[in-house]
Symmetry: C2
Subunit: 407 residues, 2 copies
């Protein structure tokens, strides 16, 4: 039996992906760019085992066996096996490449079945996009097992579009590509996780999450009905991709932050321009927007940015020097409610909370809204998928069965 | 002393005006189209008196004297006097035209001062746009006093852009015009108020109105910062103006309703694309949107449409045959709260409220939200400004002083 465990990160787009030009291959209508969030705070862990003893491919997600019928899962599995097969047939390409997880796969492995077990270290109910980390982790683990190397972000992309960006750390762009087969629709790192260490990220998990339109369904509707989407995709995003990559390379926080906010708002604008309209942000989300702009206006400097995905949670960017004050301001205006069940309100990297200055508090023109946030995660930019070397961390036992199934 | 009293209507745009290409002349970046709401439910009443005895131009709005320094008021007054002066110098143009309110003005009147007294028949706190009706009524009354005729919508436009559309009844378009001086930026009637009598209008006044960005400030910000606005104004609105006028002329409710909803959403989309973003709709507004789409989906037919201006209130369009059911559905899911102070929850045209069918209720997937609406006004499409012939209705007494000033 061959067994590998990987961890893979969540990413948050600062230039948004919304709309596919090819549903089956998951090819987007525009390029996008994201920050990879640190594995220490949010990650998916996946163990893949391959064995001649297995009777079938099987998968367990967050403690429950799931059907592998899912065409996206099938696609990833098939693509990895196909790429492994190619490497066998042209072994010269392998020469000298170091392969983790036990080296290139033996020929017969291609006929073995796999067992896959995957868990998130965060509650799925929190509305944090988990499919990107999930498919990135699946593809990274499978690639290790089968000894497949190179840019495999196109395979992750076929599991879940934004998963391709979780294949790298730091800041990552997903180039939309032009080819019909999607071969050039891949993720590339803009800068590594060490390039801009001062960036801090706050995830504000909003209470009362309603069941939102799934992003797959939502972006289909936008492509079909929004007259503004095409203009955004064809004209605005290409300019913003260049400007955003430049801002990151120059570590220009103000430009980075302004573009991040503008692109989040434009993504939600095209959702609203969809028919029927799609609304992911709620009144709490909009109040967070007001707070960030009030904070920036107070200093007459863009010290913080927000971005929202297909849900009401906010992800804020700020710099190390400002995170204490920003978080203090947030917890003042969105204080912890009583429904915490003992779990901590602020999670992740440590930070001291102080009372904001009278002047700063006065710059925010709404009253504190207790119970609006469930909790806050304090994190930073982090690395791409990693192999977990500690054997005890495998999610499958030596027979390839899940270790932690609920009895 | 010459004295005239007029009533003028509120209008609600179905193709939205948002953005000026000339701030001073109030020239828009795109044409717009509106329904004129019936005077019986919502109107402004204005009395204008001119007398050689008056020492100065004076104005009282809703019982309080206001400064006439306001450049927009000055502009309207100046333009009307100028047009009256022109008529004097070329009297041939007047020949045969019937002039209400006592015929063409005597020469010396042009040097007299005016007293103006104006009142809305609805609370300004309700967040119903009152400036359109207000300026339309002012310009209509002044025109009567000075014996000015013809299309004076360009004068009303210089008071408040959308006021030009309140100069006509029925459905009205404001043609953006191309000339630099704004001479061709005028309102024209599409069809009169009798053309499509089955249309019914429900105004849902939402509770907890927050002080919103003024539309003047908001549209300036959108023009300056939204990359999507120009595309909307240049490409999308021109097509929609044609399609909307056609739908109205054909009394095609489904097309009218779909376009109305799409254009409302696109207007709010460009507000969100503004930096910092502008949000006029709140969670109650968005829940009304859900209800309307659920209602239409239930019948698989577009039986109702919503539109939102620069605030959270919804204006719904439906047909006579469906208004009872729609209103019953609305009051089921947005029931009257306890804070009514004895005022009626449903105002305007009479309608029977019944319990919606179980099937229809089940099609709406949220729980009833009491206290979300303050009240509902049931109205219809109505006529343009009217002269009030009953002398007792003047808001100024025989000395030109306001009759109903709070003591």
């Amino acid at each position: 039996m061959k067994i590998v465990t990987c961890r893979a990160p969540v990413n948050i787009a600062v230039i948004k992906y919304w709309g596919k030009r090819n549903e089956k291959l998951i090819l987007p209508v525009n390029s996008s760019l994201s920050a990879t969030l640190h594995l220490d705070q949010l990650c998916t862990k996946t163990t893949v085992a391959a064995s001649s003893a297995f009777q079938a491919d099987r998968i367990w997600l967050n403690g429950k066996e799931q059907s592998l019928d899912n065409p996206r899962l099938q696609k990833c599995l098939r693509e990895i096996r196909q790429r492994a097969r190619k490497r066998k047939s042209s072994p010269s390409k392998d020469a000298g490449l170091p392969v983790g997880g036990g080296g290139s796969a033996p020929e017969e492995m291609l006929d073995w079945h796999v067992h896959i077990c995957s868990e998130n270290n965060f509650p799925t109910a929190a509305g944090l996009a988990s499919s990107a980390a999930g498919y990135a982790c699946l593809v990274a683990s499978l690639a290790k097992v089968y000894g497949v190397e190179g840019n495999i972000s196109d395979i992750a992309r076929q599991g879940s579009g934004s998963a391709c960006r979780s294949m790298y750390g730091g800041f990552v762009q997903w180039l939309m590509g032009r080819k019909k087969d999607g071969e050039d629709s891949i993720a590339k790192q803009v800068v590594s996780e060490d390039y801009w260490p001062k960036i801090r990220i706050l995830i504000l998990v909003v209470s009362d999450q309603k069941k939102a339109t799934s992003s797959t369904t939502g972006m289909q509707a936008t492509v079909q009905t929004s007259p503004l989407l095409k203009y955004r995709a064809d004209v605005i995003v290409p300019e913003r991709m260049v400007a955003m990559a430049t801002a990151i390379k120059e570590r220009n926080f103000e430009t980075f932050a302004e573009l991040t906010m503008k692109d989040s708002n434009q993504f939600h604008a095209v959702c609203l321009d969809t028919h029927p309209p799609i609304s992911y942000m709620n009144d709490t989300s909009r109040t967070i927007v007001r707070l960030v702009h009030a904070y920036n206006a107070f200093y007459n400097q863009t010290k913080a940015a927000y971005t929202f995905d297909a849900g009401p949670n906010a992800v804020l960017f700020t710099l190390e020097d400002d995170v204490e004050e920003l978080l203090s301001l947030i917890t003042h205006f969105f204080p912890q409610g009583e429904e915490t069940n003992g779990a901590s309100f602020i999670r992740g990297l440590p930070v001291d909370i102080k009372t904001p200055s009278q002047e700063l508090k006065a710059a925010v023109t709404f009253d504190p809204l207790p119970n609006s946030l469930r909790y806050i995660i304090h994190t930073q930019v982090g690395p791409g998928p990693e192999t977990v070397e500690d054997q005890s961390q495998h999610l499958l036992d030596q027979d390839g069965q899940p270790k932690n199934l609920p009895k």
